[in-house]
Structure formats: C-alpha cells, structure tokens
Amino acid sequence: MSELAARLDDVQARFAQAVAAADDERALDAVRVAYLGRSGEVTAVRRGIGQLPPAERPDAGKVINAVVERMEAALADATARLENRAFDAELAQSIDVTFPAIEPATGSIHPVRRVLQDAVAYFTRHGFATVLGMEIEPDYYTFDALNIPATHPAREGFDSFFISDSLLLRPHTSPMQIRTMQQHKPPIAVVAPGKCYRRDAVDARHLFQFHQIEGLLVAEGIHFGHLKGMLTGLCRELFGADQRVRFRPSFFPFTEPSAEVDTTCPKCKAQSAACGMCGGSGWIELGGAGMVHPNVLREVGYDTEIYTGWAFGFGIERLALTRYDIDDIRRFVDCDPDFLTQLA
C-alpha cells in the first residue's frame, strides 16, 4: 500500500467515526472544518503531496479529490439524516382535525343586496341601465305624474309617511320612471332598485321600510309579450329554470293593461297544500306590472303614437324571503351574526 493511501485510509476512518458521532448540525459542521476546512486534515494531506515518493505524485491529486467527494457525500447524507430526525419528532405529533374551525373575519353583502344584484345583473345582461333615486320625493313624482291625481282613491292605498304637505318618503320606486324619462329621451331601458316606505305595522311579513326594484322599458314596438318574456326570465334566473310565471289582471293607475305577477312556489313546486311559503296556493306574489299608461308617457312629453313601454315593481325582500326560505322579514334588519353568516 502506498504511503498516500495509508494516510488517506486513516483520515477516512477517523472521519467516518467523527461523522457518526456528530449529534447535531453544529457538531457536523465542526467535523467538516476539521477534515475539509482550510487547515483540515485532508488539506494537510494535499499539502504533503511534494513529500510523496515520485511515482505516487502524478495521481495523488486525483486520488485525494475522489476521497474529498466521498467525504462530502457522507457529510450531506449525515446532514439529511439529522434533518429527518428533527422532522420525525414533528411528524409524530397529531391533532383532532374535527375540532371546530377558527372563523376568518369574512365580510359579506346583505342578502337583500345580493338578490337585488342578481336581479340587476339579469337586466344589465339584456342592455338595461341601473339608476338610483332619492327616498324623499315630492308628491308630483310619487303620484300626480304617475296618473294618480289628488282625488284618486289609489292615493290612500299607498299609506305614506309625510314630511310636509307635498314631500313624502316614497312608497314605491315608480317616481324613478318619471325622473328617468324626464332626463333622457327614448329609448329607455332601466331598472331602479331602492328603499321605499309605507305605514305598515311591523310583523313577520311586513316592515315599514322595504326595497323595490322598478323596471321600465320604453321604445318603439314594445308590448305586453316583452314584459312577460323579461319577467319570466328574471324568475328563472332567481329561482330556477323550471319556474313558471303567471300574469293576472289587476289595477294600477300608471299602467294599462295592468297585471299582478306570480311565480310558482319554489319551495313546494305547488305540490303542498300545507306549504308555509305559498300558503298552499302554489304561487308567490311578486308585484305589479303593466304597459305604461298613455297619461304617464304624455306627462313626460313622449309621443304615445310612437312609443309604448312597460314597467314593473317587485319587492326585493319578498324575492329574498322566497329564495332563502326565510321565516320572518324582520331578520333582514335584525342582522343577527348567525343570519348573516348563514347567507354569506
């Protein structure tokens, strides 16, 4: 055995022992420095090449490099072994994954707004704009311009909150019909969601404030079939593709012909006489609709020979109660955290 080989064997043997004895990364690092460092043992061997017998000298560098490679590999293995030992401890831990989750501070939009947005989205897709209005309106916009003169019995049907002789909290979103038509020339295609007020005693089905969505389409060639088409589409969008929609004759001073709009009860599908949602009738009342009365078009200076239009007004709370199967309308204003979380 050559002298070099003997020296390297000795170094490697001791190195192997030292690596095996190293118990953590610091100890291992000390071994690296002691053998492979600038003043380490292998470096010492390399420095001694000149003293070797001449025959051994040409290959010495190569032999030493091979040893160094092996030693470095052994160190890497040892490092990995130590690291894994640390992981073993962590991997031995276990928890009860069924423990209740920690709730994130998630936000949400109110169910009334959500339904409103879904309804608006449907109309937006069909080319309608969305306009907002004020909640205090003069009686002109609330009644007179809508073909409800002061003497009209329907006027008292809107049991309104008054601020002054002529100012009131709007009992419906219909003033936006007039405001939009005064501001813009036809064609008009808008929906106008917003808050309304009526003097209703608060109970499980009534609040004195509620939201409506008003729709108005005025253009050439618009007829009742278009009203049925759009509102049928809306109900299917909100409640499901198999929804049926029923139009019944009714009376509103600002539409002629007028209709009440019902949709099939999404809860019982008209299959239960004891259904709590529709009262067994199989239908949910959504609101009023109809062809805009010529007097209303005339009031805003539209030519009734050219333009026809339809309008509708639906209660948004009613849509939301139906959609989420909510038992009591007061939950919308109580905003109990659990209520908001469930519907978020």
Binding site: F224, P294, V333, C335
Partner: protein, 786 residues
Amino acid sequence: MRVPISWLREYVDLPDDAQHIADRLAMLGFPVEEIAARPVITGVVVGKIVAIEKHPNADRLQVCKVDIGADAPLRIATAATNVAAEQVIPVATIGAQLPHLKIEPRKMRGVESQGMMCSAEELALPAEWFEDGIMQLDPSTPLGANVVELFGLADAVLDVEVTSNRVDAMSVLGLARELSASYGVALRLPSFENPGRDADPPGHAPRVTIESTDCTRFVAQAFDGVRVTAAPAWMRVRLALTGQRPISNLVDVSNYVMLETAQPLHFYDAAQMRDRHLVVRDARPDETIVTLDEVERTLTPQALVVADGDRALGLAGLMGGASSEVRESTTAIVLESANFEGVRVRRMSMQLGLRSEASSRHEKTLAPALADIGAARAAQLLVQMGAHAYRPHAFGAELRTAAPIALAARDVERLLGLRLDATRIARHLEMLGCAVTVHGDALEVTPPAWRRDLAIAADLVEEVARMEGYDAIEPIEPAVPAHAIPSAQYELETQLAATLAGLGYREILSYSLQSPQVMTRVKRAGLTPSREPVEVRNPLSEDQRFLRWALGPGMLEYFARIDTPARVFEIGHVFSNENTVTEIPVLAFGFSVDPIDEPSWRDTNFLRLKGDCEALLRAVCGITVDATRDVRAGLHPGKTAVLMHDGREIANFGKMDPRVTRSFGVRLPVYLCNIFLEHVPEYRIPRYRPPSKFPSTYRDLALVVDLDVTADQVSRTTRRAIGELCLGVRAFDEYRGPQVGEGRKSLAIRATIGRFDATITDEEADAAIARAIDALRDETGATIRT
C-alpha cells in the same frame, strides 16, 4: 266581498267546481282570498205544519203533522216552542244528513218521530241571526222542495277581492257579468224596470234640492203600505251567506240591492222627515247628528249631509241618522238611491273615522246610472213585499251616455303583441256590455253605463286581454335598443360593497326611521347633533318619529345588541333639515373591538381603520388621499381624520366618542368611517411606474420633534429635501416618554433612496440624507437621536 256561488248561478250558468270558478275570477282580475266550503246537508225538504197537538207523555214536547207534499203527512215530535199550525218550515226527513247529525227514526217519549224540523243553525246558518227555534219559510214556498237547492246552501262562498277601479264589480251581478263574458254564456239580468205607479203620494211628492256639486244624481221614491217585518227566508239566507246580518225587510232590501247591484240605498221614515223634502248640502259648522250606530257626531262643513228643512238626516253615502231611521211602526218611506263624488265621501269617512259597506262603494265613485237601477230593484222587491210604490223622481245631472272610444285592432296588437281581428275584439267587448260598431279594422266602442273605468283605448285593450286571458300572450324577450343612460351610481355602490366584504366587513340594514330616544342618547353623551333631523308628520309610533341623520347611531345600536366584536357596514341615505330637507347617500363601515393595551398616544385600531379606508378608496377611485386631523360630532376629538378631495369631504373616520358609545350601551370601543358617496371621485386609472433596474438603499432616521409635528409633515419635508433620489418615505415608529422629554416625541422614519440610471452610491445617499436632516431641523425643529 263574500259572494255565494249559488247567488251567482241565478244570473249565469257556471261549472260545478268552486275552485274552477275561483281560478277564473283570479285570471279576470278578481283574486279569491278564500273558498269557504259549505257542509254537506241532504234530505231537508219544505214542509207545512198541518196539525199540532200536545205530546201524550211529555209536557215540553209537541207532536206536529207535517205535509211535505207526499201522500201522507209526517208525524214529528218537537221541543221547539215557536211552532204553530200553517207554518212552512224546513224538515229533515229520515236519512237526512245535517252538519253534525244524521236523522234516523226514533221514539220520543213513546211517540215515533219521522224526522226533524230544522232551525237555521241546523242548516249551518248563524243561529243568532235568525229566529229562535224552527226557521220560518214563506207560505208560498212549494212543499216537498229541496231546501238546500232552494236556498243555495250547498255551494261554496267566495271571498273575492275587487280592485278600486271596479266598484261596479263590488256586486254579485257585476261578478256574474264578468263570468258570463269570460265563459261566453248568457247573463240572466233581473228587470231594471221601476214598478212605481205613475203617481205621487198624497200630500207632498218627494223633492230633492242638491246644493253641493258632490252629489251627481239623487233618485227619490216614495212608498207606503209598508209593513216592517222579517224579510223572506230566501233573502235572509242570501244575506247571511254574504256575512250580512238580516235585520228587517226594509234594511234587508237596501243591503240586498247594494250587494246585487253595488248601489247603496237609504230609506227614510216619511213620518220622521218634513214634507218629503231632502236637501243635499255641506254640514254646518258644529252641526251634530246621531248616526245609526247611536253615536253623536259633530260635523264640519267638509261633511256632506242629506237633510230635511230642519236638520241633517244622514251623512251622504256613509251612514243614515237615527232620527229618520225606519222602525217597527214605519208605514211610509222615502227611498234614496244617490250618487256622490268618491273623494268627498272618502274624506268625510276618514275625518269621522267611520266606514260602512255603503261608503266602501261610494268612495270609489259609482256610475250615476246605477242610482236609477238601484231604485228600480228596491221598488220591485218592496212591491213583492206588499208595499205601494210611487213615481221615482231623479234629481241632478241628466244621465249621459259615455263618449264612444275609438279602437283599432292595431292598438290591441301594439300593446299586447296579440293579433286579433276586429270582430273578435268586438265580441269580447259586447259580452262586457259595450256597444260596438265595427268598420273594417276600426271599432267604435261605447262603454256600458256602469263602467266608469273605461275611458281610453288602452282601457279597452285590457278588457280584450282579460277576455283572451293573459296566458294567451306569448312571452318573448325584447331586443333592447341601445341607449346612453349611465349606471355609475349603482356601480359605485356595488363596488364599495364588494370591496368592504373583501376587507372583512358584513353588510347590515337598519331602520331609517328612528325614535326620539336616539336623540336623547346623543344629548346625554353631551353632544348636540350637527344637523337638525327631519321629522315625519305621521309616524305609526314614536319609534318612527325622525329620519336618521347619520348611520353611526344605527350601527351603535347593532353593536350594543350583539355585544361581541364585529365588523359591519351599511349603505343608506341620511337626512337633515337646514332650511330645506337634504338627503345624502352615505356609506358607513366600522368595527367594535377588544381594546388594546397601548400607550395613550398610540391607537393601532385607528390605523387599521385608516388602512381599510385607504384600501377601499384605492379600489373604487384608484387614488390615495392624505388624511388630516379634524373634529366631527360623534367621533373622538383627538382621534378623527378627514379625507378631502377637490375641496369636498370624501370621508371622515376615527374612534367613536366614548361618551356616545357608552350612551348607546356599547361596551367595546368602536371605530367608524363615513364615506359621502356623492363626493367620491370617479375611478382614475392608476399609472404603473416600473422599479429601477438598479439597487436602491435606505436610511433610517430617529427624530425628536414637538408633539404637534405630524408624521405627514416629516415625510413631506424629507421627500422634498431628498428630491428626485427619494423613492419613498415612511414613518414606522413613534415613542413618547421621559427619555424624549416633555412636549416632544421621537419619530422613526425610513427613506428609500435610489437612482433610475445607476446604482446609488453611499456618498450620494449620505448627502441626500444630510439634506433631509437640515431641512427637518429648519422646518420642523427636529433633532436627530443617535
């Protein structure tokens, strides 16, 4: 209105199924609230007591021989005390089914009884509305006839809703006409001929002076030979089925005619009025009248009365007076069948807090022609009851035929999208009582006298649609024409809501109307509201007295209610009253939070709120606005900031004044931000500035400044002094305490320094920071801590 189907059948042939009829009415625009089924009753026939004797074995029983038109009379024992020979009565024969009883042969104290004579209750009619004991039928009722069929006791009673434009259909005849037109079957009208003799009563002919334009027509007719008694059984049964209590033949006739034709009537006792002369006039100030309900009412000239020469006899269209009420002794009467302006009746009714079946019709303004029809029907019924009818006298405006309405088949198609030919349209309208002439595509339509609601072509189109059925109209999606109506406001609200939800806030809704207690709470906290609240004139309760002037109070009430930390927002309008009523759309968001133990000059929650506010505005306007300290009512005076843009306040935010928080019962500190939606600038597209390709460096400075020097001042000064090499300045720590000294604070800032064209050198950075130190010393009085 409650409508017995059996009564409808008198005028029109209808399907058996009540549900079918109800559905049809609903699709005609008359929704049926309830279908009240009648109990099954069989085997009850008309009988006549031909003989009556005492029961051999029982003092309280009598044994009657009852002829039911069969070969042999029945022997029936009864405990009823109102029986007498010659009475015609309902008899439940053996095998009959009554609501709670099946009739079987049985012995009563040894006498076999072959049936039972029935009371009204046994026929499922309200017992208290009919005579005690056995129900009394008219002597002319055919013996053996089936009582259930005769009186329509089997058919259901519909509770029908009638819209306010169709007062003509607040009547059995009106609804029968609708059904006849819809089913396309004939309508059997009663005669509207007035049987009054062509003569006036001895003494004075009835005379009416109309002094008010609110009385359009007044038909007065005199009757004598009247005998006040019970109305015939058929009439009493019909009234009872509609929910109207039978009173006496006269009262019942007026109710019956009103239910049949919609025209309310009133009878005056001729003996209790002067000269059969009626005056329709405004009430005199403080004039009093005792109405039929025996309440004395004091009137104002807003009330319209029907008076004789001396005093008010009744409230026009609303309720008669007690003084001229018909009574048992009445033998001569004057009939009123009048037409009044609906508004006048409605306002009087509201003012007096008094409603009646009559006013519920008059307040919708009946057609004047109904006055004559109502009088004629009443006269027919009274004559049937043996009264003598004199000539009817009509006062007021002449009856005018309605002006014809021009309608084209094209109008129908234009509004309904339904192509119908003119003859089909004409047929529909004629079935409803219109007179129609057709010229090619054009129709000339004269509405019937009882339909005041038909005035323009669109009204007729609705009639056509009702007759065709709304279901016949095909739903189609319209092609919506292009327009330029903006949706910006809605889109802003939508985006704000979405962003706040993303920031972890939950949207709530609270009441816009508030109790005065909210104001009390604010005042108790030592504050005066910055704005005068808007008051509601007619709240239902004190809880609704004021419109909210800010969203904060509602949010505090919410935090008080849930009492755990929460993050919420609300978008809504607030109202104030300074000379004029103003309404502002506002967004408020905020949180209640567990307090943090930190020095008095630091408020981490405030900075969190500020961070959310900045993030929100970045998202919706693409800009960041510098906050300045200010004071706002309701917010902590030392912890309030406002964001101004173009001279308008976009937002204010801060910790809520702890006095207010406590006054609302909130235990936790609350942080609140108000955003004024009308001041939020339009979204501006932010411009991207690429980072320098060369590494930058930074320098931290620890400054000591006076307490009133702000982080913003220090940053601005630093930025300006460093000039274009400055890539950013940010304050990151603040300290106050004994080491710094009274009135001073330590502020740590980091300035990032770099170039876009080369790597910055240490020398350049040092020179830049030296400029900053000089400027800070000069402009803010800062000293450098080392």
